[in-house]
Amino acid sequence: MQIKEYTEKSIYTIEIIGDLDASSAIQLDQILEKVVENGTKKVLIDCKNLMYIASAGLGVFVSHIETFKEQNVFCVLYDMSDKVKNIFQILGLDTLLKIVKDRETALQIVQ
C-alpha cells in the first residue's frame, strides 16, 4: 500500500493506494494520529485507488471517530468503489463515517 498526502487551502487530503490490510493499516493510523496532533480540522480521504480493505483498515477509521468528534475534525471519504463501500456497509460504518461519491461533494461538506 502507498499513501500520498497533500494540503490545499487548509484541507488535508490522504490518498490511499492499494490494499489496506493488517500489514499496512498502521501506516494510515500513524498519519491520522499526526493529522489530529497538528490541529488539522478538514481531512479528505481519497479512496479511488483503495483496492481492498480488511478489518484492520476499518479499525483505523473506527478508532478515530470519537477523536474526530472531540477535536471537531471533519473527515470525509470519497470515490470509494462499490466493493470497498460494501465492506463498510456490512458493519454499518457508512452511517458512522461520512462517505460521499466524489471530491467535489466532499469539498462542499468540509468547506
Binding site: 462499490d82 465492506i87 458512522l96
Partner: protein, 139 residues
C-alpha cells in the same frame, strides 16, 4: 472441485492468500462484491492465525481448501498453533462500545460471521480447523 493452497506465516503472504481465493472464486457464479466479501472472510481468519496464533513465524504454515458444491462453497483453513480460543464463547461487544473505546480491533470475526452462513472451529490432534460455509444467494 477443490482448490488448495499452503503458505507460511508472513505478513506479505496475506496478499497471496487473497489472490489465491479470488482466483478460485472467479470460476464460480459470484459477483465482484460477493467474491470480495468471501476473500475478506478468509483473509480475516488467516490474519488472526498468522498474527495471534503463529506470531508471523515463517516456519509455520496455513493450509486453505476451497470446495465448491452445487449450492454452497466451503472454506477450510488449518493451522497448528496452540490456542485456547473458544468460538462458542464469541460475543460481539457492540459497535458503539468499540467506537467509544477507540478500539482498532474486534471487527474481523464479526465480519466473518456477517458474511458467512456457518462458522465452525474444530481443535483436535494439535490442529485447528476453521470451516466457513457460504450458501449461494442466502444473504
Amino acid at each position: 472441485m477443490i482448490y488448495y493452497y499452503k503458505i507460511n506465516c508472513l505478513p506479505k503472504n496475506l496478499k497471496l492468500i487473497r489472490e489465491f481465493v479470488t482466483s478460485a472464486l472467479r470460476n464460480m457464479p459470484l459477483s465482484d462484491i460477493e467474491i470480495n466479501q468471501l476473500v475478506l472472510a478468509v483473509d480475516e481468519i488467516c490474519t488472526n492465525l498468522m498474527v495471534h496464533g503463529n506470531h508471523y513465524n515463517p516456519n509455520e504454515f496455513i493450509e486453505i481448501s476451497i470446495s465448491q458444491f452445487p449450492e454452497a462453497i466451503q472454506f477450510e483453513i488449518i493451522d497448528r498453533s496452540i490456542t485456547d480460543f473458544d468460538i462458542t464463547q464469541y460475543k460481539f461487544s457492540g459497535m458503539a462500545k468499540i467506537v467509544q473505546e477507540k478500539r482498532k480491533g474486534g471487527l474481523g470475526l464479526l465480519l466473518v460471521h456477517k458474511i458467512m452462513d456457518k462458522v465452525e472451529l474444530k481443535q483436535e490432534n494439535s490442529q485447528n480447523t476453521w470451516r466457513l460455509l457460504k450458501t449461494f444467494s442466502s444473504k
